[in-house]
């Protein structure tokens, strides 16, 4: 053990983005190899398993799914999985479990001290961890969507549908970001963020979507739903499904609102983190 003190370079003030990027570097590995990621892998494994079952059924010449007595083709089933499983269930679940834990995990593990006693704004800590959440969920969710796609869609249909797949991937990414933004605020503000997050995602959002009127405009699902018809194929069977979404606003409005949710809630979350005292349990 030596006591020499070789001089370091003078302190260089970092931009908010640069500080966030460095927190991202620190957080990504921890987040990616956490137990929560195993949980996420299990969740996204569900649609892959379902696609495998469909593939096996269809290999015997049987119809895996019929709507109004009409057999659904591979890409239509893929569209249903994207909407019913990924957008309505997996994306909100991941948003709740990761978004609410961005700060809560660090507080519970008592590692927040190391981040809050460095010369970076607290808001940059949150944004860095949010970026790590996005990278982590994209790395697991988007490949699983690709797997589902290639299991369900015959190779002959790939050239015609690949563009739609990219739109779906973009939609999922936007959904993860928007839900993550909302739940990062919930996680920064409340003591029991997970419960509140679950109530929002599977109580408020689900119930309000069934009620006629304008309340549904206060949900993320409404705007994600508004983008679904644009992403879905327009063949005969799926037009029945599209009928469900006829009263949705135009795509640009949905996009604008989703980005507003993301930016607005993330900004509010950084303000909360800047001002809040995190008292670690002794």
């Amino acid at each position: 053990m030596t006591g020499d003190a070789t001089p370091l370079p003078a302190f260089r003030r970092m931009s908010f983005f640069n500080a966030s990027r460095r927190v991202f570097d620190l957080s990504l590995g921890e987040m990616l190899w956490s137990r929560r990621t195993i949980f996420m892998a299990l969740i996204v494994g569900g649609p892959v398993l379902l696609a495998l079952i469909v593939k096996v059924i269809e290999s015997f010449g049987m119809a895996a799914l019929r709507v109004n007595n009409q057999r659904m083709a591979g890409f239509s089933i893929f569209g249903v999985i994207i909407w019913a499983l990924f957008l309505r269930f997996i994306v909100p679940v991941l948003g709740v479990f990761y978004g609410t834990a961005l700060m809560a995990d660090e507080v519970e593990d008592k590692t927040i001290t190391y981040l809050f006693t460095r010369p970076v704004p607290r808001g940059a800590v949150l944004v860095g961890k949010f970026l790590a959440y996005l990278a982590c969920t994209f790395l697991v969710v988007l490949p699983s969507v690709m797997v589902v796609y290639f299991l369900l869609v015959p190779l002959s249909q790939v050239p015609a549908t690949f563009g739609k797949l990219l739109i779906d991937l973009g939609l999922l990414a936007l959904g993860l970001a928007a839900y993550g933004g909302v739940f990062s605020l919930v996680g920064s503000f409340f003591k029991r963020p997970l419960v509140i997050g679950l109530i929002f995602a599977f109580g408020w959002e689900q119930v309000v979507m069934l009620i006629p009127g304008s309340l549904k405009q206060f949900t993320i699902a409404y705007y994600l739903q508004g983008l679904v018809p644009h992403a879905m194929p327009s063949e005969g069977v799926t037009s029945i499904l599209q009928g469900l979404f006829q009263q949705n606003p135009p795509a640009w409005v949905c996009l604008a609102w989703l980005f507003a949710f993301l930016g607005g809630f993330l900004y509010l979350a950084t303000r909360v983190v800047e001002r809040k005292e995190y008292i670690l349990e002794q």
Partner: protein, 323 residues
């Protein structure tokens, strides 16, 4: 040793220009519970020990002076600047917290490098600084091991490395010697003294007078959220020497340790607890010195951990509060 006044200012003027930390009427409440109670104190440059039993308010005071908590009342300035909501001051401060919390999947080197990158160093500079800091705490051989596989003493040392990696002006150390074996304690104390000799400032907390005394003679005594006394350690030393001192020593061979302790005339009593021996001594100084020699020689097997329960101080605090 000055028994502190109600405001705790002692013989220093509040607002002293060169104070490392200046607290002015600082109180901190956790709901109905008081963590710190109307503390006014200026901590001078050099090494200062913050001494008090667990729950006395040491950690609360340290969290306030590291900007983790906001005072419920009063103001606190560190290195002349307000600390709450002012992250840039942390370029000049290194903090070693009490809690045993880490990113266990990272190696020691990865962790220290990642943290010092938050100080604005580029990758090459951060890597070099982290290696230098880890070398300072004598942990180079384990630098590439995962922190989850570290012993308690190694975890303490890597925590110390992250605190000093950016060469801060002020090191704030919350119970830094907890869980270290005697040899590592001695090395860490030497490191802290070397740091002070290099013109750096240190505020170190402990509930063990012997530890604080080995680093500095300037102490703040804290109890029940108040600064009870401040000043030179020697007077309190005399007080504490009149009370038996309990030391918990965990090692590979507690019976061999006990045999060695029996030869010491200052050992008043002993008892065994699992793989440890708990000793009551009348002269902690000579006992700790002998313990370090024993650890170095290996005569009584490996010594893994030394702890001193905080009730050693209670009698002294009672005495001071009555003054």
């Amino acid at each position: 040793m000055m028994p502190a006044t109600q405001s705790g200012t002692g013989n220093r003027e509040p607002g002293t220009g060169n104070a490392l930390v200046h607290a002015d009427g600082v109180s901190k409440w956790y709901g109905q519970v008081s963590g710190l109670n109307n503390v006014t104190v200026s901590i001078p440059p050099g090494v200062t020990g913050l001494l008090g039993p667990n729950g006395a308010g040491k950690s609360t005071f340290m969290k306030l002076m590291t900007g983790q908590l906001k005072p419920s009342q009063g103001t606190i300035r560190v290195l002349g600047e307000p600390i709450w909501g002012n992250p840039e001051v942390f370029a000049r401060i290194g903090f070693c917290p009490e809690q045993d919390a880490f990113y266990d999947r990272m190696t020691g080197l990865e962790w220290v490098t990642a943290l010092v990158r938050l100080n604005g160093l580029n990758d090459a500079e951060a890597d070099a600084a982290a290696k230098r800091a880890i070398d300072r705490v004598d942990l180079m051989e384990a630098a590439n091991k995962k922190i989850g596989a570290y012993s308690k003493g190694m975890r303490q040392r890597i925590k110390l490395a992250q605190a000093l990696v950016h060469d801060p002006e002020l090191l704030i150390l919350d119970e830094p010697l907890t869980g270290m074996d005697p040899i590592m304690r001695r090395k860490t104390i030497r490191l802290i003294k070397d740091w002070a000799r290099a013109g750096k400032h240190i505020i170190v907390s402990s509930h063990i007078l012997h530890e604080i005394e080995s680093m500095t003679s300037n102490i703040l005594l804290i109890n029940n959220g108040r600064i009870v006394a401040e000043g030179n350690v020697h007077q309190i030393r005399d007080l504490i020497d009149t009370h038996p001192h309990t030391v918990y020593v965990r090692g590979a061979n507690p019976r061999a340790l006990a045999r060695q302790f029996l030869t010491e005339d200052d050992v008043l009593s002993m008892k065994f607890e699992d793989d440890a021996v708990v000793v009551e001594t009348a002269r902690p100084d000579s006992f700790y010195a002998r313990l370090t020699e024993l650890a170095a020689s290996g005569e009584a097997g490996q010594i893994d951990e030394v702890q001193s329960p905080d009730d050693n101080l209670q009698a002294v605090f009672k005495y001071l509060v009555k003054q």
